[in-house]
Symmetry: C2
Subunit: 378 residues, 2 copies
């Protein structure tokens, strides 16, 4: 029994795309369908053809027209690794509408357009997988959808953004100021030239919205998820980790806490459908001795409270080319096995409403910021 090769187009050849292409070139035997047919790299869309070829990408596969690759009837699966909003969303939607399976690491597109893309995938029967969008290489969406399928998830929380955790860790461990660490993180490649999406919390919100899809069966509107920390004087709070001061970090440490950017979502009591979710991404005072408090640097950790399992946790590298490529390639093998979309086996999602979680108890920093305290149980 054998079948024709599954032809894959990779859109984007940044850090992750290059690792995915490398796997096709160096470990082709590891990329096969369950009946032994090869997965074939049939095209790679890049911005700059000359630069990509000079960087060792196979010149005969390169294209600067991603839409042509998506439309090419010879392409079976589209791996979208361009990131950002457009043209990624349009390309993913076009592929799904054409019945092509899509694997993506694009948390922005999935969080902001997940509801429409889920509908498009269900309508055409195409598979849409996005494990790489949350936690880099850490398996978390798959386990939620599959291994924990018999559970009722009550709450989920975690450190899901490596850049902000790197900055907060360096501030805590080396007593440095925010601006100083941010500049160092940018120099070291741990923060982007425009770090807004990370430091103000939008990246973590996107990941939380995607986690909530698998945990509670709802699509939340990212814009409804608060990223603000309250202030004692009642003025508008910080967004994400911006405005966290060295003095706040030191005072928190003195009180037995570390400040962490925590993404959290919990089922609202009495709402059996899970349509209301108490969700936020906030700089939080976490007990220093807790597993989340000890999650340092660019590591991610995601904790799931569910019935009957109790609390399970997943940790590891939440970013980086190799780690993220692991998730992309895992999804690609799942697509090759026709295992369905990331949500396969779960009912279609409903639209959810975001409720603000309680801000008390809180730890008041010298800057006037009031950081909610993560309950000791975690």
């Amino acid at each position: 029994m054998s079948r024709a090769p599954l032809r894959v187009a990779v859109l984007g050849a940044g850090t992750v795309g290059r690792e995915v292409v490398r796997a096709f070139l160096e470990r082709p035997r590891s990329l096969r369908t369950s009946d032994g047919a090869p997965l074939e790299l049939a095209g790679v869309a890049v911005r700059d053809l000359a630069k990509a070829a000079a960087g060792g990408m196979p010149a005969e596969l390169l294209s600067d027209g991603p839409a042509h690759l998506v439309a090419d009837p010879k392409i079976d699966v589209v791996v979208e690794l361009m990131g950002g909003g457009e043209p990624a969303r349009t390309l993913i939607a076009a592929a799904l509408a054409a019945g092509k399976d899509v694997v993506t690491a694009n948390k922005h597109v999935i969080a902001h357009h997940g509801e429409a893309l889920e509908a498009a995938a269900r309508a055409s029967g195409a598979q849409l997988r996005f494990e790489a969008a949350v936690g880099g290489g850490i398996p978390v969406l798959g386990p939620l959808a599959l291994d924990l399928a018999a559970n009722r998830v009550e709450a989920i929380r975690g450190i899901v953004n490596g850049t902000t955790n790197f900055i907060l860790t360096a501030m805590a461990e080396r007593g440095l100021a925010y601006a100083e660490v941010l500049a160092a993180a940018q120099a070291a490649g741990y923060a982007e030239a425009d770090p807004t999406g990370d430091v103000e919390g939008a990246d973590a919100v996107n990941k939380l919205v995607i986690l909530a899809r698998l945990a509670f069966g709802v699509w939340l509107e990212p814009g409804e998820v608060s990223v603000s920390t309250a202030r004692t004087d009642g003025s508008a709070g910080l967004s994400g980790i911006t405005g966290v001061t060295g003095a706040d970090v030191a005072a928190a440490k003195e009180a037995g806490f570390v400040l962490k950017l925590i993404a959290s979502a919990a089922r609202v009591a009495g709402d059996d459908r899970g349509a209301q979710v108490a969700a936020a991404v906030r700089t939080t005072a976490v007990p220093g001795e807790s597993p989340l408090g000890r999650t340092n640097g660019v590591l991610n950790r995601i904790e799931i409270d569910a019935e009957p399992v109790g609390r399970v946790a997943f940790s590891g590298p939440g970013a980086g080319g190799g780690a993220t490529a692991s998730a992309v390639l895992g999804d690609l093998l799942a697509v090759a096995r026709d295992l369905g979309s990331t949500w396969a086996g779960r009912p279609p999602a409903i639209r959810g409403t975001v409720v603000a979680p309680p801000v008390e108890p809180a730890f008041a920093g010298p800057s006037g910021a009031r950081y909610p305290i993560l309950e000791a149980a975690s």
Copy 2:
């Protein structure tokens, strides 16, 4: 589109079996095939009919003839939760030979007869799933087989036995002697009346053999995996945690270590097929500040080093009725979705050879035991 109910027989109504039955009775809507057909509890095999009925099990479903349930043509899926060697092995083998899918939490049978049972399942096309055999409710075999499928696993290590970890934790935290803690653990239900299988390491060996199947694609012989700790005088070492003294625990703490029963397996360099695995279950000196060193009480933690993902870790409750039932029910839903056996998508296993891992560097305890030191990286 609908299909006939999938009829399930549960063999065994101990801690886990009762939780599985409870899910059928209390949350039947959560147990459906992907096309909406119900999973139907069609029989429960128990040892003592009267006692089970008095305990609230549905009397009309009870049977004291598990072999009859397995042979019953009306049964589609067998959930084996009796534990131990026989008759569990024979019943699982009979079900697979008859083409019936099997879900089991039986680490002893899977570790000792996995090779034959895999062959039987492949021959008849039946699905065999055993996520619950390792780490209770923590998803680990599924993620290894599926989400991490594109990786080459280099090493795996963990705390996989809650009873011994409870004992070692209590010795370290409360300065108690081994015998004293064991008696307390037995009284509290954390250790069995005959604790041999836990404290001498056989339970952890079984789990390690099963992890190695998914990590390296080999079945190892449990009897070849050492559970011994060396002694400075060259005499025969301890088995598992037996013989660990309060003085050893205290001296280890003084040196910055905690003693943990660590199950570890690593690919042997140069063996690309993974046929040789350096595997052992040994009381180990673990850096106190490391995540494994901080895994206390009945928690389990499993770490996987793989390329390209790096190190990912899974933690949570490794035992208990609810946690283990979560894994059993997850497998049952996977069987209902025809997702295949736990190893689905991976090539058939080969027979592997166990190599003894290095015992140096080691920490010498006052008792004369030499505990291998876990490398600082973990």
